[in-house]
C-alpha cells in the first residue's frame, strides 16, 4: 500500500515514531539533567530528528553508523537500546558502554554502532576504514558516517573522502549542517554556507532540507543503495538547526549566540510538526494516535530511567578494565 510518498503507511508512521521517540527522550533528559543524576555532558538532538530517522530507515542492523558527540538521536534511530542509553547517561554499569564512555561515547555492537568519538571528525576516517573492511571482506553492508558542519573543516574529512573515492568504498557521509559549532556561526568559519560545496570536485554531493524527513529518507536511500551496489561513496549535506544549546539544556538564544528571530524561524520548521501536518493530511495520524505514541514513549522512558537509576555503578576496582582487548 504505497501512497503519494512512495512509502507504505507503516513506513511513514515508523519515521514519525522514531522522531517522536528521540524528541521525547531528549526532553526527558533535559527535564532531569538538573537533578544531577547524569554526570555526563549532553548534546541534545532536538530539532534535527528528521535526519537520523530518515537516514536510518534505510539501514539494517548489519550496516554500521559512525556517530559523534551529538549521538543520542543516531543511536535510537539505529535501533539502539533505550535502557542501555539512559543507563550510560547515568554512569551505570548497565550502560551501553558500561559506564566507561558516557553520553559522548555511546557504543553498541548489537546494533551496528561500533565506536563514537567526541573528537570532532575523529570518527570520519574510522568509519571510512570500517567501509574498507566491509569491502575487503565482501560483507555487502554499508557504512554511514555522521558529522556536523564544523567537522567538515577538519583535514581528515577531506583525506577520508579522497580515500573512499580512490577505493570506491561502500560509505555514505552524512553532514548535519545546523549552522553552528558550539556558539560560533558557520559564516565566521567558512566562506560559504553550503559546506558540501567544498567537496564537489571529489565525489557526488547533495544538499537537502534536513528538516523534511521524507526528503532525507529519499536522498539517503539513493546514496545508500548507490554505495551498497558498489557504485561508491557520496556526501549528503542536510541543512537543519538545533533548537537547544550546543550542550546542556537551554537554547542558543538563552546562551546568547542565536537571535530570537532566527530561532523562531527554525522552530517554525520543526521537523516533527511539519511531518505531523503531512501525516494528518494523509489521514495517517490524528490526536488519538499521537497520544497513543506519546503514551508508549512515556512509559518506555519511565522504565528506562527507573532501570538506570536502579542499576549498579561500575566497580571501582575495575579501573583497568578494557584498557587492552
Amino acid at each position: 500500500m504505497k501512497n503519494s510518498y512512495n512509502l507504505s503507511a507503516e513506513a511513514l508512521l515508523e519515521l514519525y515514531k522514531t522522531m517522536k521517540r528521540i524528541r521525547m527522550t531528549e526532553e526527558k533528559i533535559a527535564a532531569h539533567y538538573r537533578e544531577d543524576n547524569m554526570h555526563t555532558p549532553v548534546h541534545l538532538y532536538i530539532g534535527q530528528e528528521a535526519i537520523a530517522a530518515g537516514v536510518c530507515a534505510n539501514l539494517s542492523k548489519d550496516d554500521k553508523l559512525f556517530s559523534n558527540h551529538r549521538n543520542h538521536g543516531h543511536y535510537l534511530a539505529k535501533g539502539g537500546n533505550l535502557k542501555a542509553m539512559i543507563a550510560e547517561l547515568h554512569n551505570k554499569e548497565t550502560g551501553c558502554s558500561k559506564g566507561y564512555g558516557g553520553s559522548m561515547h555511546l557504543v553498541d555492537n548489537n546494533v551496528g554502532f561500533p565506536i563514537t568519538s567526541s573528537i570532532v571528525a575523529g570518527g570520519v576516517p574510522i568509519g571510512t576504514g570500517d567501509a574498507l573492511a566491509a569491502s575487503t571482506l565482501g560483507e555487502g553492508r554499508v557504512t554511514v558516517v555522521f558529522m556536523g558542519d564544523a567537522a567538515t573543516e577538519e583535514g581528515v574529512v577531506y583525506e577520508s573522502l579522497c580515500f573512499a573515492v580512490l577505493k570506491n568504498l561502500p560509505v555514505v557521509y552524512i553532514c548535519e549542517n545546523n549552522l553552528y559549532s558550539v556558539g560560533t556561526h558557520l559564516l565566521k568559519r567558512e566562506k560559504e554556507q553550503r559546506v558540501s560545496k567544498k567537496f564537489e570536485g571529489i565525489l557526488p554531493v547533495y544538499t537537502v532540507d534536513g528538516n523534511d524527513v521524507l526528503a532525507v529518507y529519499e536522498s539517503s536511500r539513493k546514496a545508500i543503495e548507490h554505495a551498497r551496489y558498489g557504485r561508491g561513496p557520496s556526501f549528503i549535506e542536510y541543512v537543519t538547526y538545533r533548537l537547544r544549546d550546543h550542550h546542556d539544556t537551554k537554547t542558543g538564544v538563552e546562551a546568547g549566540y542565536q537571535s530570537q528571530e532566527e530561532w523562531d524561524s527554525w522552530k517554525e520548521k520543526c521537523p516533527i510538526a511539519a511531518f505531523e501536518r503531512i501525516l494528518s493530511k494523509e489521514n495517517l495520524i490524528d490526536t488519538d494516535i499521537i497520544s497513543g505514541i506519546e503514551e508508549t514513549n512515556k512509559n518506555e522512558l519511565n522504565d528506562a530511567f527507573r532501570f538506570a537509576e536502579e542499576s549498579r555503578l561500575p566497580d571501582v576496582g575495575n579501573l583497568y578494565n578494557g584498557l587492552f582487548g
Binding site: Y33, R34, D36, H39, T40, P41, N91, K92, S97, G99, Y100, G101, G102, S103, M104, H105, S117, S118, I119, V120, A121, G122, A150, A151, E153, E154, G155, S181, V182, G183, T184, K188, R189, E190, H247, D248, A255, G256, Y257, L313, P314, V316, N318, L319, Y320, L323
Partner: protein, 345 residues
C-alpha cells in the same frame, strides 16, 4: 552542571601580591583576560585566535569581549582545523606577528602535533637562526563530570619531550597574568596548560602589566620533612593535604613549579638538602611524563642527599573513565597525597 560550570577548589587561596599598590582581587580567568588585554594594547603584533573565543562563553571569561575592543581582525574565531590553523599561526609568527592560540582542551592539540613538534620548535634551528616563532599555545585542561577519555587529558607530559618548547602551568591569578605576558614577549614557542579547577580561584593581581620569569618555581609553603614538587592543580591538593599532615606532625615543603620546561632544578635541590625526601605530584600520567623527568634528573643530582626513594603521585597508565566512581579512582587528590606522604615518612 560542572561540565558547563567550573569546579570550585574552595580550599585554595594564595595571595602572592597583596602589597602592590594597584592590586585587586581577581578571578584566575579575569587575570588571563587582563593579560591578553594588556598584550593586545601594548603590542600591535599580538593577536588572539581560537574556537569559541568570541562566543558568549568566551573561554570561561578569559577572552570575553576582547574582539569588541580590538576588532575581529585581532581576535578571531577559527574553523575546526587545528592542524592547519597551528601552521597558520606559526607562519604568522614567523612573519612578525605574535599569535596567542586558545584551545579548549589539550586533547585537541593532538591534531596539531606535526606543526608543533616538526615545525614551530624547529624552524629557527634548522634555518640557522633565521626564523624564530613567537607563538603562544594555550590550552585548558578539563576534568570530571564524565568528560571521559577524549576530553580530559592532561597532556603536558608529551610536550615535555619536545626540544625548543617552553611550557608554563601557572596556578594563581597573579602568576598567570605575569607568565602569560612573559610568554607573549618570548621570541619562541611557549605552551600554557591551565587547569580548569583553578579558574575560580581569586587572588591579588596588580593592574599594570608585569612579567614573571619563565623557568622559576616558587615555594608555596615552607616545611622540614618532605619536599613536594606540585604541578598545576596539584599545588592546591598539596596545600590541602599539608594542613592535615601538619596536625599529624609531618611538615611538607610545597614547591609550585610554575614552569615545567625548563624547570627550576635549584629550588628543588635546595629543598631536598633540607628535607631529604621528594614527592612529585602531577595531574598527568606518571609513565613517561613530567614526574618521570623530574625524578630522573633530580634523582641523579641529589643522590646521597635522599633518605628515601623519590615518589611520584600521578595518573595511572589508563585513559580517563566516564563514570564518576571510576573518575574518583582515576584522579589523584589531597587524600592520595596525604597517604603517599605518610608512606614516605
Amino acid at each position: 552542571m560542572p561540565w558547563t560550570k567550573i569546579t570550585q577548589s574552595d580550599y585554595f587561596e594564595i595571595d602572592d601580591n597583596t602589597e602592590a599598590p594597584t592590586s585587586r582581587r581577581l578571578k584566575y580567568t579575569e587575570a588571563v583576560r587582563e593579560a591578553l588585554d594588556s598584550a593586545l594594547e601594548i603590542d600591535k603584533r599580538v593577536f588572539v585566535m581560537g574556537q569559541g573565543i568570541n562566543d558568549p562563553g568566551g573561554m570561561f571569561g578569559a577572552t570575553t569581549g576582547l574582539y569588541k575592543k580590538y576588532g575581529e581582525e585581532r581576535v578571531f574565531e577559527t574553523p575546526l582545523a587545528e592542524a592547519g590553523l597551528t601552521g597558520i599561526a606559526v607562519g604568522a609568527a614567523a612573519a612578525g606577528l605574535r599569535p596567542f592560540y586558545c584551545h579548549n582542551r589539550p586533547d585537541f592539540l593532538m591534531l596539531a602535533m606535526d606543526q608543533i613538534v616538526n615545525h614551530a620548535t624547529k624552524l629557527n634551528y634548522m634555518s640557522g637562526g633565521q626564523c624564530n616563532v613567537p607563538l603562544v599555545v594555550w590550552a585548558t585542561t578539563g576534568m570530571g563530570w564524565g568528560s571521559a577519555a577524549q576530553h580530559s587529558q592532561a597532556l603536558h607530559g608529551l610536550f615535555m619531550h619536545v626540544p625548543g618548547l617552553k611550557i608554563i602551568m601557572p596556578t594563581t591569578p597573579y602568576d598567570v597574568k605575569g607568565l602569560i605576558l612573559s610568554a607573549i614577549e618570548d621570541n619562541n614557542p611557549v605552551m600554557i596548560f591551565e587547569h580548569r579547577k583553578l579558574f575560580n580561584q581569586t587572588g591579588h593581581v596588580p593592574e599594570q602589566a608585569y612579567k614573571i620569569p619563565i623557568g622559576k618555581g616558587v615555594v608555596r609553603k615552607t616545611g622540614t620533612d618532605i619536599t613536594v614538587v606540585a604541578i598545576s592543580e596539584m599545588v592546591a591538593e598539596a596545600l590541602k593535604a599539608s594542613k592535615k599532615l601538619e596536625e599529624e606532625g609531618i611538615s611538607l615543603e610545597i614547591i609550585d613549579l610554575r614552569t615545567i620546561k625548563p624547570f627550576d632544578e635549584d629550588i628543588i635541590i635546595n629543598s631536598i638538602k633540607k628535607t631529604g625526601r621528594l614527592l612529585i605530584a602531577d595531574t598527568g600520567w606518571a609513565t613517561g611524563g613530567v614526574s618521570a623527568e623530574i625524578a630522573a634528573r633530580i634523582g641523579e643530582k641529589t643522590f646521597g642527599l635522599l633518605k628515601a626513594p623519590i615518589v611520584r603521585l600521578a595518573s595511572e597508565d589508563v585513559p580517563t573513565p566516564a563514570s564518576y566512581v571510576l573518575e574518583r579512582a582515576f584522579y589523584k587528590n589531597a587524600e592520595d597525597l596525604e597517604k603517599a606522604a605518610k608512606a614516605l615518612w
